[in-house]
């Protein structure tokens, strides 16, 4: 398995290196879909330039990266391209290993279930075979590395590639059952962009499951482990924040990074829902809707964890997808991370209802973004509504995609317990509905 992966990495790096050398790189790095005010490379360079002028990068409103990123690129400025390519490769490898682990585990669980005769007889066609699972890790890596979204994101040197790498490492360490590493990487991801905070719950669920600790509030072992994990997570987060403070000697970065993410002052267009909504918002409702929209990201964590408490990995996928859709400054790089997980769920394909429609919409929107942007900004023959319409459609397509996978997952679980071919009372073939 290592050979195809190596080949894949070489291909991916070659594509990126070739694109870096073309004039496309400049064009891509200006695209609002690829870079946001939060993670644009231009702003990282600006932050370093400000630092060179002895001005705090956070005294202005251009730089919103965390102090760690400054210090990372303070040393790696000349190797930025390699850094981003490495980050992508690292993400792919981490996902590859994580999915490999996960598949092993799925297979083992399935075997136990079969041995225990818990699976109804007519569900045998739902059983996953090792041969079809064999190429899934490679497909995941391929979906990440060769996804055009990842490629443009890397070529634009968008720092969300780094965030993706951190999240991928977090997933890997969780899969390997290393609570400490998992907490550290989660803290790092949270430190970079708040939202991965919600991944805390699935990681905890997974680790508990791995140690066969039941999720039961009356059990002390559950509380002990939970507190231990939270302590590690919060502790490393605190260490990171204090370290940032000591690096720059001021707390300016807190409002400049987290305040910026949460209060959305920069309304530069992006693929998300925030920019036009808050550009057109009435001032006295602004705070209210800001709260509503931000809570929206964190809101689904609790019900989803209850519903999916047996399937923490799918929960991680759902969370990452919801963050990518509902975060305040989304970029296509965020999409690429959850899209990399789609091959993991390709056994759900038979239950997906509108995958064809959704993929068409996503493709059409990706093509229309630059077109309508050009019409609005350069040609002047369209206005902001055109671009806004596409972002709306893109968001709807993503929401449908995620909810479709969620539906398919739940339905498969239902079939695995109740049988695939359900009959009505009168013996005729029944249809399954949500009630």
């Amino acid at each position: 398995m290592a050979a195809p992966l190596t080949l894949l990495l070489i291909v991916a790096v070659t594509i990126r290196a070739a694109l870096f050398r073309t004039s496309l790189a400049n064009l891509i790095s200006e695209r609002v879909e690829v870079v946001s005010p939060l993670n644009a490379w231009k702003r990282v360079v600006e932050g370093l330039a400000l630092l060179d002028l002895d001005i705090s990068p956070y005294s202005g409103d251009v730089f919103h990266e965390t102090p760690m990123v400054i210090y990372l690129f303070h040393f790696l400025m000349d190797y930025a391209e390699i850094t981003f390519m490495l980050a992508d490769c690292l993400t792919a490898v981490a996902l590859y290993l994580a999915v490999k682990d996960y598949n092993k585990q799925v297979f083992r669980k399935q075997k136990f279930a079969l041995e225990a005769d818990r699976i109804p007889m007519d569900c045998l066609e739902l059983i996953r075979s090792p041969t079809e699972m064999y190429y899934i890790p490679l497909k995941v890596a391929m979906f990440y590395l060769l996804n055009p979204f990842t490629i443009v994101s890397c070529v634009a040197k968008c720092t969300c590639g780094l965030n993706n790498a951190v999240i991928a490492l977090f997933i890997l360490s969780t899969m390997r059952g290393s609570a400490l590493l998992s907490a550290i990487f989660l803290a790092l991801a949270t430190y970079q962009s708040i939202y991965p905070l919600t991944l805390c719950v699935p990681a905890l669920l997974y680790l508990l499951q791995r140690l066969y600790i039941p999720v039961n509030v009356r059990r002390s072992s559950f509380w002990f482990y939970t507190l231990q994990y939270l302590f590690m997570f919060l502790g490393s987060l605190l260490v990171l924040i204090c370290l940032s403070f000591f690096l720059l000697g001021s707390w300016d970065f807190l409002p400049a990074v987290y305040g910026f993410i949460l209060s959305v002052p920069d309304l530069t267009p992006n693929i998300g829902l925030f920019w036009y909504f808050f550009a057109e918002m009435f001032d006295h409702f602004r705070l209210f809707f800001l709260c509503v929209f931000q809570i929206n990201v964190f809101f689904y964590t609790l019900p989803l964890s209850i519903k999916l408490k047996e399937h923490p990995v799918f929960l991680i996928f759902m969370q990452i997808a919801l963050i990518a859709i509902f975060k305040s400054y989304p970029t296509v790089g965020d999409l690429s991370l959850y899209m990399a997980f789609l091959p993991v769920w390709n056994h759900l394909y038979r239950f997906l209802r509108n995958i064809f429609l959704v993929s068409c919409v996503l493709l059409a929107c990706s093509a229309l973004f630059p077109v309508l942007w050009h019409l609005w900004i350069y040609a002047g023959s369209a206005n902001s509504n055109f671009y806004y319409a596409i972002t709306l459609l893109f968001s709807v397509a993503q929401i449908l995609l995620v909810s479709d996978y969620f539906y398919a997952f739940l339905r498969r679980e239902h079939h695995l317990t109740n049988g695939l071919y359900l009959k009505k009372k009168d013996g005729s073939e029944a249809t399954l509905v949500l009630k």
Partner: protein, 729 residues
């Protein structure tokens, strides 16, 4: 390296400050109020209006205090004839005195230079330099007096500068305590421009020996406008400079204005160091000034206010270096019109009733290509030792009349044609009231003809150039002639004249296309053939154009020209603008190009102006420089000067302070659809609801086998059967 650069900058700033204090305006109006006020009584007497026509009807409108001043003056009229004879007597003495002083001055200059290099003790140095500048001024003025003696023209008489008269008088008698503490002078300078346009510049100066800075409350106002005085006292203002300008000054065509100003409104204020809440005071002050001048100065807030670190030094006395007491703001969008002129005229002691201000008729003034009115308040020295300070209020009004719109294409200008008024008298409250016409390019009258001719001539070094002016003294009845009104006529004979190209000018524009990003280009031209000089460039860019300082490039003659000092303050969204200050060295005969990239922000729909697609203004950049003077450009100008005096160029001729404003920019921003707020809110919320709804569905419901519900007829039948007590179907 850094330390040396710092020192270099520091030295540059000091000189800049000093020279801007000393030599920024017309030479005949010295910076210190002492010269005119120390011997105030005599001057007033000498300038009294013995035969000026006095219309009692006009006087009734004047305030009682002015009436008093009038009587004081008429009572002392008998001393008038003594003046000219005394002046002639002293001429011989002055000749020797001049030479002596010139020597001592050179010595002092040398010692000064040594001191600068060795100690660089700022305060002492600045004080010394100020004194020096003042002494130099005296000297040049005396020189000016001397030079005409060598000229052959017997018909023209060189005007004895007022200052010299007083100096002579002071030397003769011990100074007597001044009768009145305030002094008012008015002036009009007319400069015919080679393009056929004409430039008229009014200056009204009130100096008051009141101490606004002290604890004593100033409550009795005479010449100084009370409205302004109260503002200065209340807000502890040290210096206030405000200008309203309509139109853009074309430096290339018109040369340098006496007092430059950017299009729109500009306000900069130095507060006293007793002010604790500078921002709060500034906010209040702008609101009050907005009321006084009927202008939209209340739009000045933190988003367009900056604190320049080097470009705006105090013009009055005082060596303030802490720029936290300085606030600078421009409103490039401000439209200037009659409603701003009327309150401005009300600040004058004579209003628009008498003196030069009768010319200020708004229907003519605003029918011009360039119009600028300004108010400058600053503390000045009361006496040469600078023991006490006075407050100086300088009101200026500059206007350029266009050859084609105002002049109907005829190269012929008269006061009546320009202002639709003629002059009939001086302002009775003014100690001096003069009209100057620039005749430098017209020594033999070959360019234009000036009628009525005046025998008086004066010379002044203005903006590094030695200019000759014909003087009409309005306090002399002879100026008005037999018609009792002065309407000088300026008729061009030649249609083409060569104007000396200004040594420093600049251009600015926005490059790039589309509404996403752009690039601001500033071109600074140095036309000096062999001398490089440093300039300070100050740009204020609103926050919605996000500058990227790492894209800043400065190049001259195709080579990278690193600024030796950069002060950059990045913007904060909706809080403060970008401030970029740079010290650049302009190589001789070159164009220096400064470029910086920016991104255009999308604003909230309420933040756009009512005409969003008109664009957003970016205020003018300010270029402050010490420019090598045109006089110094001629290195062989030793013809009429003793050799020992001319090896080192004397300071004022070596370089002069100059401020150039670039064009304001008009930048388009991407706009949202303003008619859509409800639609956008509805549609976006719908998408969020789609997400919420589908997840809610999947989270709360469970899969069940679909049992088709019975049909409508069956249900109705069941209801009936229930009533009947029969089991349902």
């Amino acid at each position: 390296m850094a330390a040396r650069r710092c020192l270099g900058l520091w030295f540059f700033l000091i000189t800049l400050c000093v020279v801007s204090t000393g030599a920024d305006v017309l030479h005949t109006t010295p910076v210190s109020g002492a010269e005119s006020s120390a011997a105030g009584a005599e001057t007033v007497v000498a300038r009294g209006l013995p035969g000026a026509p006095r219309d009692p009807g006009e006087r009734t409108a004047a305030e009682p205090t002015r009436e008093e001043a009038q009587t004081v003056r008429t009572g002392e009229e008998e001393q008038t004839p003594a003046q000219p004879t005394r002046e002639e007597e002293e001429e011989g003495q002055e000749q020797t005195r001049e030479e002596e002083e010139e020597l001592t001055r050179e010595e002092e200059e040398l010692t000064r230079e040594e001191e600068e290099e060795l100690t660089r003790e700022e305060e002492e140095l600045t004080r010394e330099e100020e004194e020096l500048t003042r002494e130099e001024e005296e000297l040049t003025r005396e020189e000016e007096e001397q030079t005409p003696a060598q000229q052959e023209e017997q018909t023209r008489r060189w005007e004895a500068t007022e200052w010299a008269e007083e100096q002579v008088h002071d030397a003769a008698d011990p100074p007597s305590p001044p009768a009145s503490k305030d002094d008012f002078r008015e002036e009009l300078v007319i400069r015919p421009l080679h393009s056929g346009d004409i430039y008229a510049s009014f200056q009204f100066r009130t100096v008051w020996d009141a101490d606004f800075m002290g604890d004593r409350k100033v409550s009795h106002y005479r010449l100084f406008p009370k409205s302004l005085g109260q503002v200065i006292t209340k807000f502890s203002v040290r210096e206030l400079h405000i200008s309203f300008t309509q139109g853009y000054w074309r430096t290339v065509q018109w040369g340098q204005p006496f007092l430059p100003s950017p299009p729109g409104a500009e306000l900069w204020v130095w507060f006293q160091d007793t002010v604790t809440d500078v921002d709060g005071t500034w906010k209040e002050l702008t609101n009050v000034l907005s009321g006084i001048f009927c202008a939209s100065l209340n739009f000045i807030d933190s988003t367009n206010t900056v604190q320049p670190s080097a470009s705006f030094k105090p013009l009055g006395i005082g060596n303030v270096t802490d720029h936290s007491f300085l606030r600078y703001a421009t409103l490039p969008r401000e439209i200037v019109c009659t409603e701003n002129l009327t309150p401005w005229k009300k600040l004058l002691p004579c209003g628009s009733k008498a003196g030069l201000s009768v010319l200020l008729k708004s229907e003519k003034l605003f029918h011009s290509t360039f119009h600028s009115q300004a108010v400058h308040v600053r503390p000045v020295c009361q006496d040469p030792q600078c023991r006490t300070t006075s407050m100086e209020l300088r009101q200026t009004l500059n206007v350029v009349f266009d050859l084609h719109t105002s002049g109907q294409g005829k190269r012929e200008w008269s006061l009546f044609k320009m202002f639709s008024r003629t002059l009939t008298e001086a302002c009775p409250l003014a100690s001096s009231s003069k009209v100057y016409v620039d005749v430098t390019d017209n020594p033999q009258g070959e360019q234009f003809e000036l009628t009525p001719a005046t025998p008086l001539l004066t010379q002044a070094v203005v903006l590094g150039d030695r200019r000759t002016y014909s003087v009409y003294d309005l306090t002399q009845q002879a100026s008005f002639g037999s018609s009792r009104s002065l309407n000088m006529l300026l008729r061009w004979k030649a249609t083409d004249g060569e104007m000396l190209r200004p040594l420093l000018h600049s251009e600015r524009y926005v490059a790039g296309y589309g509404l996403q990003a752009g690039e601001i280009h500033t071109l600074i031209y140095n036309h000096h053939p062999y001398r490089a000089f440093p300039v300070l460039l100050l740009s204020t860019v609103p926050w919605y154009l996000r500058l990227y300082i790492h894209t800043l490039t400065v190049s001259s003659k195709g080579k990278d020209n690193r600024p030796s000092y950069i002060h950059y303050q990045p913007s904060k969204d909706r809080e403060r603008p970008h401030l970029l200050e740079m010290l650049l060295q302009l190589p001789p005969n070159s164009v220096t190009e400064v470029t910086v990239e920016f991104d255009r922000a999308l604003l909230k729909w309420t933040e756009y102006t009512p005409d969003p697609n008109h664009g957003f203004y970016v205020g003018s950049s300010v270029i402050s420089a010490l420019v090598p003077s045109v006089v110094a450009m001629d290195t062989n100008s030793t013809l009429d000067r003793p050799l020992f005096s001319s090896f080192f160029p004397c300071k004022e001729e070596a370089s002069y302070f100059m401020r150039v404003y670039t064009e304001p920019l008009l930048v388009n921003l991407p706009t949202p659809d303003f008619s859509m707020p409800y639609n956008v809110i509805c549609l976006t919320c719908t998408v969020v609801a789609v997400g919420y709804g589908s997840l809610y569905n999947l989270l709360t419901r469970t899969f069940q086998v679909d049992e088709p519900s019975p049909g409508l007829a069956k249900r109705i039948a069941n209801v009936i059967r229930r009533f009947r007590g029969v089991p349902p179907l």
